[in-house]
């Protein structure tokens, strides 16, 4: 796997290319990149044939342990890979520890192990166990096991434990990684920990920066879940800026979590390259339809969707949901608790968010990134602009 960027500035919005995957050598991705969030091996609510109608392009799927760890035995037994097991082998996949759409339980730390919460309860994962899982899954990219259980309120003691434990876990994972035949073309990513403490961030980067890593995950800023969309730039700016300034320019930087679109743009401006699509999923689960990119006169531009509004969510949207179905129908499906409501919202929201990333890349290339940023920021900062962001069905 290789990452190339022609950016010379350390902390700025940049275009990069991610390519050289051994499994699918012709696939390449341009950054800033959106990883497609998956749960239990599928894009939530979408069967593969529906997902394919949404995007014909190559995609990089994000996979996390809580919804998949129970599959490990079967994957091992069948001597296959995760991508093959879940029938997604035409897509590149990226394995991380926690599920960005759901709040990770805090605590339950033991010496050099991490707790993963599956459907059936807590599973304790050591570096050895994790690397066994990784060798069974055979992802194209993965994050080393780490303790990212910190947020803006974490105390110094918790932060230093997180940094220390993550260091030990990284060393253990890397040892196994470097000896593994299976993983010799797999990229391992280093998690930068340290919460909101700059000194701790520096310590974390110090032990990571000379290691043979494919890139860095700026971890430990939050505990995942829907609350992440409410984190503002002011809270994270200093620590992210500081962290990125210490990271090598030529390596990719990833930030997981359902950041809102305005914060995504801010993070891109600070030099983050990769995000995941848990945001449109979380919005779908909140029964909302994204409209933050709509700048034309969406008729009936109220933020509540009416039962007799026979226009689509967005008249200019090319997604399957907007091309074929009305707000009235989606409203009805939602009120009768029909599963198709979530299917249609997920189609629209994912489409909207993929469009967002297309616009981001274009705007960086043609020098209009700041205009895009101003426009989206206005929608997210204005007090009474619910309708500009999304419609609640």
């Amino acid at each position: 796997m290789k990452f190339v960027t022609d950016s010379v500035a350390r902390c700025a919005a940049r275009i990069g290319t991610l390519s050289g995957f051994e499994r699918l050598p012709n696939v390449s991705f341009e950054t800033p990149l959106l990883l497609i969030y998956t749960k239990g091996g599928s894009v939530p609510h979408l069967t593969k044939d529906i997902f394919k109608t949404l995007t014909m392009e190559e995609q990089l799927l994000s996979v996390s342990l809580p919804s998949t760890i129970l599959m490990t035995d079967a994957i091992k037994e069948l001597d296959t890979s995760f991508a093959d097991f879940v029938s997604m082998k035409e897509y590149i996949n990226f394995l991380s520890i926690h599920d960005s759409a759901y709040t990770t339980n805090s605590g339950f730390h033991q010496l050099d192990t991490i707790s993963v919460w599956s459907r059936t309860g807590r599973i304790v994962v050591s570096a050895n166990k994790y690397m066994e899982i990784v060798q069974a899954y055979k992802p194209d990219l993965y994050v080393a096991l780490c303790d990212g259980d910190t947020n803006i309120n974490s105390r110094a003691k918790r932060i230093s434990k997180a940094v220390l434990r993550s260091k030990t876990l990284l060393e253990q994972c890397l040892d196994i990684h470097l000896q593994s035949d299976i993983l010799k073309s797999t990229g391992i990513l280093g998690p930068v920990e340290g919460g909101y403490n700059l000194q701790a961030r520096k310590e974390s980067i110090d032990y990571l920066k000379d290691k043979p890593l494919a890139g860095f995950v700026i971890d430990g800023l939050h505990n995942n879940g829907p609350d992440v969309q409410n984190i503002s730039l002011e809270q994270i700016k200093q620590v992210v800026q500081y962290t990125i300034n210490l990271l090598p320019i030529d390596k990719m930087r990833i930030s997981m979590g359902c950041w809102n679109p305005a914060t995504v743009l801010d993070l891109i401006e600070l030099g983050v390259d990769v995000f995941d699509s848990s945001y449109p999923y979380v919005i779908t689960e909140q029964s909302q339809a994204l409209t933050f990119l709509c700048d034309h006169d969406c008729e009936n531009n109220q933020h509540v969707l009416y039962a007799d509004d026979f226009s689509p969510i967005c008249k200019k949207c090319k997604c399957l949901a907007c091309q074929n179905h009305t707000r009235a129908y989606i409203h009805h499906l939602h009120h009768t608790k029909e599963m198709l409501a979530l299917v249609l919202l997920m189609i629209h929201n994912t489409h909207h968010y993929l469009q967002f990333f297309n616009l981001i890349r274009d705007s960086i290339k043609n020098g209009t990134f700041n205009q895009l940023q101003t426009k989206i920021r206005l929608k997210y900062e204005a007090v009474n602009s619910e309708s500009a962001k999304f419609i609640t069905v």
Partner: protein, 394 residues
């Protein structure tokens, strides 16, 4: 009358030389329908998580909507503004709606049936409501399905005594009120419903009365509600003997593979049932020998698809082992099993139609029953029902 458009043309393309089975094509306002046909149930204007284009890909030509549910939500007003259910849900092919009477009686304990209609307390505001035959047709006219059902007086299929006879006669009287109230006869066909419980005389009498009315097709109702299979097939057999051959016959609430095969041999053309979609939500896939419960542990390391011979997108893509992991956990699993189960029903009906066309339906029955009962321990009712139409099992 000569100039009036017919909203239903039924052509019988082939008749089985041994049994009463036939295969044909119904031409409706929105789409044609090849019979015998299984109609998946899309109760509230959606078929459990599937998009209309997925149903088209599955070769569904007609689906069913429930008047009681649609009348409540979104309600007749919204459906009128939308221009009918077809446009509301963006389904371009044929639709059938029931009368709402069955749900009324089965869902609402407080329903009381009078000559005027079904009286019930609204589940929303406790107010007294009345569903009359006229009202049912009025809502169904608004929904705009290609085939609509008369309001019938439904009694529990195992009930006996004078109430069954009363219900049978009332059903006929209500039919006449429905036909009179029908405002879109050029676009929608009302099907009368043969009632009469498990009493052969009452059923025959009902069927004989109904065939005097000028309609485009008939339904057989009040069955598949817990009666013995022996009673069930006899009532179907007797009804199809009376109903005219040149009109489609719809057996309500039937959807198990075995029942579809036997009843097709008895001359039935249309079926509906919630079973294939409901069982999918519980993690079960339909296979020839019955059902495969994907939650069961033996699927955990099974890399085969649900059915190796199945052409559906689920079987072409996913393994039992993966479906085992997500069954009843992820909504995707429900969509995948629903796709398979509908594909299964569609394939079964296509096989039935093809074998009738090629005059090998009796052989098809024999082979299928042998797959389901490899030890030849056929249930008596199947043996008897098939014997009645000249088929002896192997």
């Amino acid at each position: 009358m000569a100039n009036r458009k017919t909203p239903l043309i039924f052509e019988v393309l082939a008749e089985c030389e041994t049994t009463k089975a036939r295969t044909g094509r119904m031409t409706l306002v929105h789409h044609y329908v090849d019979t015998p046909v299984f109609m998946p149930v899309g109760t509230q204007g959606t078929l459990k998580g599937l998009l209309p284009q997925q149903l088209e890909q599955l070769d569904c030509q007609i689906i069913l909507g429930n008047t009681y549910h649609l009348g409540n939500r979104p309600g007749a007003d919204i459906l009128r503004k939308a221009g009918g259910l077809h446009r509301f849900m963006n389904w371009k092919r044929a639709l059938l709606t029931d009368s709402g009477g069955f749900q009324m009686v089965s869902l609402l304990h407080l329903a009381e049936i009078t000559e005027e209609g079904v009286k019930f307390k609204s589940p929303y505001n406790e107010s007294e409501c009345m569903l009359t035959p006229e009202h049912s047709i009025q809502i169904q006219n608004t929904i705009g399905a290609d085939i609509i059902m008369q309001l019938d007086d439904v009694v529990k299929s195992t009930l006996t005594g004078p109430r069954v006879e009363e219900a049978m006669h009332r059903t006929i009287r209500w039919l006449d009120r429905c036909l009179l109230a029908h405002e879109r006869p050029d676009e929608q066909s009302i099907f009368p419903i043969v009632q009469g419980g498990l009493n052969p005389e009452l059923r025959s009498e009902c069927a004989r009365q109904l065939i005097k009315r000028e309609v485009n097709g008939y339904a057989i109702g009040g069955l598949s509600g817990g009666e013995s299979k022996d009673d069930f097939w006899k009532m179907v057999h007797l009804s199809t003997n009376i109903l005219p051959k040149n009109k489609p016959r719809y057996l309500m609430g039937v959807g198990f593979a075995i029942d579809l095969i036997v009843c097709s041999a008895l001359g039935v053309d249309m079926y509906d049932c919630v079973f294939p979609t409901r069982t999918a939500r519980f993690g079960c896939a339909l296979i020839k020998t019955g059902q495969l419960n994907l939650k069961q542990i033996q699927n955990k390391k099974d890399s085969r698809p649900i059915d190796e011979s199945c052409e559906c997108s689920t079987c072409k893509t996913y393994s039992r082992a993966y479906l085992h992991q997500i069954a009843t956990v992820e909504t995707v699993s429900c969509h995948l099993l629903t796709v398979h189960n509908i594909a299964f029903q569609m394939k079964l009906m296509r096989d039935i139609r093809d074998s009738i066309k090629e005059q090998r339906f009796p052989r098809f029955i024999q082979d299928y029953m042998l797959i389901v009962y490899p030890n030849k321990d056929y249930p008596t009712w199947i043996i008897n029902a098939l014997r009645a139409v000249n088929v002896t099992l192997l």
